[in-house]
Amino acid sequence: MNLQRLVSESIRGRQFRSGLIVAFIALLAGLILASTLVLRGMESGLRTGMERLGADFISVPYHGFEPIVAKGALLTGELAIGYWMRAENLEKVAELDGVERVSPQIYLQPVTGAPFCSAEELYVVAFDPKTDFTIQPWLKQRLDRPLGLWEVIGGDSITVPPGTGITLDSHQLELVGKLLPTGMWLDSAIFFSLETLGAMMAEPGTSSIIPPDMPAEAISAIAVKVKDGYSIDYVATDSLTAAPATWPIRSTQLMRLLSEQRAGLLKTLFMSLGIVWLLAVALTALIFTMMVNERRREIGMLRAVGASSNFIFRLFLTESSLLAVGGATIGIIVGATAVYAMKSWLTSTLGVEFLMPTLLGILALMVITLVAALIVSLPALLYPAIRASHMDPAEAMREV
């Protein structure tokens, strides 16, 4: 008979209680790991999305800049619809020293209640597939040929599969590809080529998606990629001179706008996580304190037969630590597995591409969470053990 044996018999002999404690700690640890994985996955998804966006800055019509920024809308839902710049700006910006690539985008009138889109408002965007480097990289499956006439790419909110014909206003189009979820306005948009836009405009009659006040040779925005080694700020400033009446918005600004939009959600999630941690520590302390109280008589008896307060401290700390480590390990494994299994569901629910860390990353996160959980839980484990070790043996036997 020794301390380890006493601990193992106590855990085995009180199976229901031990099981409940392990299950409770597993639930908390699993919840904490799952929340951490989801938050990290969302963050990685957004970061990757921004990297995939490709543009170092986007030039928008100057008069359209303020309302767009004020609404934080450039990436999040509302485009610079109804604001125009001359198409010749595209060449002027392209010719600037340090500019690697430029690509134009034209934002047409949104469609409300499109039957093939789960979002209320469907954005309609014309772009140049040959120069584009911001939309097509999001394609779930790369097209094996250039985007043809009357062919469209849809965002994640488009409910019909590729190969389906769709009617937009009076125009017959064919969906040939879908984008990954981005968490941005791209999700609820369809994209077709400038060539298709030209064909639409050439058709007789009026089209509700083509703004009546749209000037000829006009575009809505220019996505700009700067060459390596050049200052984005300098090139963006140069664009002001080269293309008057435009305003460059840097990717960092885009990221900030995006971050601000997500900040509320993330703040809430992190706060919830913090509350879960605090509750976990408090409840764990409560459970182990109850365990000590329940065994006052045992503590008194052990002290009477020769156990020092140090032995009692080690006895309860060992038992509670084993239960905590066991519970946390099970919870972390189950939590990671559950998040992995629900990856697709999370992606569709959160509306953001959800990137799981690599297997090594997950293992590291599991170890970090376990260590962090134990460090944070240490007061919850120490308090009852200290309480047990300081218990007056005569009082312990008396108060039962």
Binding site: M1, N2, L3, R5, L6, E9, S10, R12, G13, R14, R297, E298, G300, M301, L302, R303, A304, V305, G306, A307, S308, S309, N310, F311, D392, P393, A394, M397, R398, V400
Partner: protein, 222 residues
């Protein structure tokens, strides 16, 4: 020898009046004695045993066990003294429910030096044989009768032959026959050389002792 020198124990329960558990008690218990202390419930008998065992600290006065002032020792030394010198029979059930009988009896041997612990199982079996429970070694406390449980507690108290056995109401809640069996066991242990201090509210046990004292309101009288 166990000696109490002008020992007083005052309890100070939270938000309640002070209670004097033991009031200026002086007492010498010589080796080989079987001291029976009787008195009504709440008169301070258990307090006196707790003080002798070093489980409670006196408010004033000294408790000496074989010449050592119990409360001059630190926690480790005091625990070692308890283990070496005293076996304790609590009034309330004190077996660990998740351990079987032989494991319960082995509990005090956990605090013996590791090299001496090798024979702990044999000691426990012998102690159980001494109390007539050889056939119950693997049973769990929930499967024992009240009398058997008392006998396991006695076995645990004597497993490593302490010179002093402190028994707090050892026959409480036992029927007459079982009471006699338990007392016969204690008599036999006493005959083996163990000093016994037994406290009880039951006057019928006075005859088992070599000396009798009465306690009332925390004071001892012959």
């Amino acid at each position: 020898m166990i000696e109490l020198q002008k020992v007083t124990k005052i309890y100070k329960p939270r938000r309640q009046r002070e209670v004097t558990g033991l009031d200026d008690v002086s007492l010498k218990i010589s080796p080989g004695e079987f001291l029976v202390v009787t008195g009504r419930s709440g008169c301070g008998k258990t307090t006196m045993l707790n003080l002798i065992a070093g489980l409670a600290r006196p408010s004033s006065g000294k408790v000496l066990v074989d010449g050592t002032d119990v409360w001059s020792l630190n926690d480790e030394q005091l625990s070692a003294l308890r283990k070496e010198k005293t076996g304790f029979m609590f009034q309330v059930p004190s077996l660990i429910p998740v351990l079987n009988v032989v494991e319960n009896v082995m509990v005090p041997t956990m605090f013996t030096a590791p090299e001496k612990r090798l024979d702990a199982y044999e000691w426990a079996k012998k102690a159980l044989a001494d109390v007539g429970l050889s056939h119950k070694t693997e049973a769990f406390p929930r499967h024992l009768s009240a009398g058997e449980e008392k006998r396991v507690v006695i076995a645990r108290a004597i497993v490593d032959n302490p010179p002093y056995l402190l028994a707090d109401e050892p026959t409480a809640n036992l029927d007459e026959l079982t009471e006699k069996e338990v007392m016969a066991l204690l008599e036999s242990i006493h005959k083996g050389g163990t000093t016994i201090i037994l406290v009880t509210h039951h006057p019928s046990l006075i005859g088992y002792g070599t000396r009798h004292l009465t306690m009332s309101d925390g004071k001892l009288t012959e």
